[in-house]
């Protein structure tokens, strides 16, 4: 009995020390982590909607209406130039090969895709992970939001077609699905 108490106390001592160390370093890093993450998102939004000077999240009521209706939409930001809204940056999460693929899509108020960026994914390096390449992402640029974007395996011949990544059709589909969700959201809720 006495031994069990002693062993328990020693373990308690070790875990408490660990908890103190972790608590202190968490307090020391959490501010920086939040700042770094916020900055990374801000940079990504600027990349997909270069015209905007700053971004604000939508009004709560409108945002909640959008988010409740579609769990694949994560964030909706309006991009402003001066006082005017020039477009939207919409973050979506769609299932890919190794989990959700998070994509930010930039759409101008005229209904053109101004850029997309894959911001988070767990796709296979060398295959699906190539979705982050500029070559793939630039395909979406300047597409019209009025028509659904489709994935083809050969050189695209029609409007709003994307050439799939070699050996990574599922990833290409996931990114395209995300862009399509953003596109429909814009058409149905934001452009009006």
């Amino acid at each position: 009995m006495r031994e069990i108490v002693k062993l328990g106390l020693i373990l308690l001592l070790i875990t408490s020390a660990a908890a103190v160390v972790l608590g202190l370093s968490n307090a020391a890093t959490i501010g920086t982590i939040e700042a770094v993450e916020a900055k990374a998102s801000e940079v990504a939004r600027k990349e997909v909607l270069p015209e905007a000077e700053n971004f604000k999240t939508l009004e709560e009521e409108k945002l909640n209406e959008i988010l409740n209706g579609n769990e694949k939409v994560l964030e909706v930001y309006a991009g402003y130039k001066g006082e005017n809204i020039v477009g939207y940056a919409i973050k979506t999460a769609t299932p890919g090969y190794g989990g959700n693929v998070e994509v930010i899509t930039g759409i101008s108020t005229e209904g053109k895709i101004t850029g997309i960026k894959v911001v988070k994914h767990q796709e296979t390096p060398g295959l699906g992970a190539n979705a982050t390449s500029a070559e793939f992402q630039n395909q979406y640029k300047d597409m019209n939001t009025s028509k659904e974007i489709t994935v083809v395996k050969t050189q695209p011949s029609n409007e709003n077609e994307i050439q799939a990544l070699t050996g990574a059709t599922i990833t290409s589909d996931a990114v395209t699905n995300g862009v399509n969700i953003a596109r429909e959201l814009f058409n149905n809720k934001l452009s009006k």
Partner: protein
């Protein structure tokens, strides 16, 4: 054994990957590129050295009956620290290694060194063992990552080697490629060390 000999032990003679075959999960999973291999190796080395030091310092306090939970708590603490600090100060690397940082906790190399070396030796020797084993682990991961990246993507450390004409063998960066590359490298390593032993 002298401190220097302890350090050298992990580099070649008892290399964690090629001889002891320890820590196979990160070895197989993250070595798709040379950069990821090196980064994983260095992160593991940091945890290994820190855990070895603390385990060695506490070796008289920790009774043998609860040594495993104690070691796991110590290792997990250091891994969480690395995770937080990398997230704050090296975001790109953090994104790239992602899930594999928390998995350092269950890398049996670290628990293995705590159990078989650090808990029986002085702090200085535990540090030198941790450094030796860690660097041995890191160079082996880097080599494995380089071979796979070279054959599977035609580049090393992200720099293209063969140019456009090269058609990469995509299988090498997929999971089967990890087993193929590891098996062949372990074979070559053992062949070389046998040859050296025969010559000596």
């Amino acid at each position: 054994m002298s401190i220097i000999k302890t350090f050298k032990n992990g580099l070649l003679k008892e290399n964690p990957i090629f001889i002891q075959l320890l820590g196979m999960c990160p070895t197989l999973a993250v070595t798709t590129t040379a950069t990821d291999g090196l980064a994983m190796g260095l992160a593991t080395t940091t945890v290994l050295v820190s855990a070895n030091l603390v385990v060695s310092l506490l070796r008289k306090l920790i009774p043998s009956k609860i040594r495993i939970p104690s070691y796991i708590v110590i290792i997990a603490t250091f891994v969480t620290l690395i995770d937080m600090f990398m997230h704050a100060y090296a975001i790109d690397l953090y994104r790239s290694l992602g899930l594999f940082i928390p998995l350092i906790v269950v890398n049996c190399l670290i628990l293995g060194r705590a159990e078989s070396f650090a808990s029986k030796n002085t702090p200085v020797r535990a540090i030198s063992d941790g450094l030796g084993m860690g660097i041995g682990f890191a160079w082996a991961l880097t080599l494995l990552g380089s071979v796979r990246e070279l054959l599977g993507a035609g580049s090393i450390f992200g720099i293209s080697v063969f140019g456009e004409a090269f058609k990469p063998a995509i299988i090498m960066i997929l999971p089967p490629g990890a087993f193929l590359a590891l098996g062949i490298l372990v074979g070559i390593y053992n062949w070389l060390s046998k040859k050296r032993a025969a010559n000596a």
